[in-house]
Amino acid sequence: MKDELRVLLLDARVDRARDLARALKDAGCQVVAQLVAPVDLHATLRAVQPDLVIVDMDSPDRDTLEDMQRITSEQPRPIVMFVDESDSESIRTAVRAGVAGYVVKGASPERIRPVLEVAVARFEQFQALRNELARAQSTLAERKVIERAKGILMEKRGYSEEEAFRMLRKMAMNQGIRVAEVARHVLAAAELI
């Protein structure tokens, strides 16, 4: 992990945000933006590109952040919430269950840093898992396309299954594209006939 984490801080309470920003700096983080008023979060995130977002548990921006986590093109980021010491234990449980981490107001820099590091690590793990799943799904989809293309070649040209696959592979090599891509062309052509 990079030495200096670039943090975006979202909190409507100015004094609390200021205290936390100071603690974050002491913990070796760079606070790239500190927002108190509601702003257009999409534009802000794109502009400042933080490594991590720290948001107040009761911030209205939470729904927007949650939505952005879902959309890969929005470049999801790890989120850490912070709560007041006065918040009940059950709220802390909620935060712990729902997101990567949480910081309690007034926590010392030595305690903040590990929380952020764990949040980033867990987030990266989750993203890796998600990408792997997406890859597995597309491999499965590709295999289905290739099977169907083989079926068409076998039916129309009277090839054996092996011959059909060799045919697809040859076309792919000649055109410098993937077998699945060729199979897709075959299916598209078959649909036209």
Partner: protein
């Protein structure tokens, strides 16, 4: 002793209430009215409950607090309950509802600038009601040709009725919401501001945030939720399944109080009082005028309905339509037993019990064909006949809960991620 309290004490099981002090979450929207009035007019107290209403500004926080027991119950978006039960985008948490907080009350609004461009693109398509999205489609095509960036529309939460309504309306005109537009989540109280600052070109949100944009002449409402689907489901009272298991009598008392409050706030003669009460900064914090206009809506049906037309009944067929759309847009990635899930989350049986306690009629059936009634009708399969309103979709399609796979197959624009044959095996 207040005579009403004495009556309440006779309601079956009220002496067995497990928990009397409750914290209930609400969000600053017109349809928090039944919750506010249940407290302000003493319906909760009458049913043996001491309720603290907690104002929340994010649906994610509402869900997390209910999950952890920091809130006992809360106003929730109907699709949130299914998303939670399925663990979409987070931890799996079985949520339930035995009470629908209202029908209708949302609308799709565009900025004045976008409205002028729509008029320019296809003026005929904006004449008459309900308005189709054809002008929007023409404009999107023109913009694409000119290399302009996609239009930005706001919704309130990833899993919301707003998202599903907006997509349904867009797709019916040939707009692919995944490809042709940028949809983004913005908290309801900030919608008008984002529209005025030019960060959004339009949005789908609950009242009063459409009426307010119109009052400020910064937005133009194209179509209401009621026009998209007459008297369609909106918010529910969400609780965790575990909470109901542990507090069955408390939950029943809660529903009794809400049923009575819903009947009160629904009366046309009470809507001005409702607007005045919830306009305060501890509730919706919006101008009374916009709220009253949204709540009265000149009898067009655009105003939220809280009690009429069996509005409090959690219809399984409503739940199943919402789930059909969550499948359509690829939010649900595995084949599911739609009715099974709907019946686990929606609990019309609990609604009937509570309605019987307070002598209010309730339907005896949990499903109906949706989109078949063009006008007023009466449902006879109820503890007493109930006058019902139309339930038509603006495109004239019907929804038969027994034919979900066929229904999903007919949509030209969809991002279905499950196979129809696998879905058909379960439904």
């Amino acid at each position: 002793m207040d005579p009403r309290l004495r009556i309440a004490a006779h309601v079956a099981g009220s002496e067995r209430i497990e928990k009397r002090r409750l914290r209930i979450g609400f969000v600053p929207l017109a349809d928090c009215a039944p919750l506010v009035f249940a407290k302000e007019r003493g319906y909760f107290r009458r049913h043996g409950l001491e309720v603290e209403l907690v104002r929340e500004v994010s649906w994610a926080t509402v869900r997390d607090k209910v999950a952890a027991g920091a809130l006992d119950a809360a106003q929730m978006l109907a699709p949130m309950t299914f998303a939670s039960a399925l663990g979409l985008g987070g931890r799996e948490l079985p949520l339930c509802t035995g009470h629908s907080l209202g029908l209708g009350g949302n609308a799709i609004t565009v900025s004045e600038a976008l409205y002028r461009r729509l008029v320019d693109a296809n003026p005929e398509a904006l004449i008459g009601r309900p308005v189709s999205a054809l002008a929007l489609r023409d404009l999107i095509e023109r913009d694409r040709g000119a290399g302009r960036p996609p239009l930005r529309f706001g919704i309130v939460f990833p899993h919301s009725t707003h998202d599903l309504e907006l997509r349904y309306w867009l797709a019916s005109a040939g707009i692919d919401p995944e490809r042709d537009l940028s949809l983004r989540v913005v908290p309801p109280p900030f919608m008008v501001q984002r529209l005025e600052e030019g960060h959004l070109d339009g949005y789908c949100v609950g009242e009063p945030w459409n009426a307010l944009a119109a009052d400020r002449r910064s937005g133009h409402t194209l179509i209401t939720k009621h026009e998209i689907w007459n008297y369609s489901p909106e918010k529910v009272l969400g609780v965790s399944e575990e909470w109901i298991d542990r507090h069955p009598f408390t939950h029943r008392a809660l529903l009794r109080a809400l049923l009575e409050a819903a009947a009160y706030v629904d009366a046309p003669g009470h809507r001005l009082e409702v607007a005045h009460t919830i306009a305060g900064e501890s509730f919706v914090d919006a101008p009374v005028g916009a709220l009253h206009r949204a709540l009265a809506a000149g009898g067009t049906g655009a105003a939220p309905v809280f009690h009429r037309n069996a509005a409090t009944h959690p219809w399984i067929s409503h739940a199943m339509w919402l789930l059909s759309q969550m499948l359509r847009w690829g939010y649900i990635e595995k084949p599911i037993d739609v009715r099974g899930l709907a019946r686990r989350v929606y609990r019309p049986d609990l609604h009937r019990e509570a309605a019987a306690d307070v002598g209010l009629p309730a339907p005896l059936v949990d499903e109906k064909l949706e989109g078949v009634h063009g006008g007023a009708w009466v449902i006879e399969e109820a503890t007493a006949p109930i006058a019902m309103g139309p339930d038509r979709f603006f495109d004239g399609l019907r929804f038969d809960p027994d034919r979900i796979p066929e229904y999903l197959e007919r949509f030209a624009i969809s991002s279905l991620r499950v196979r129809i044959d696998e879905l058909a095996e379960l439904n």
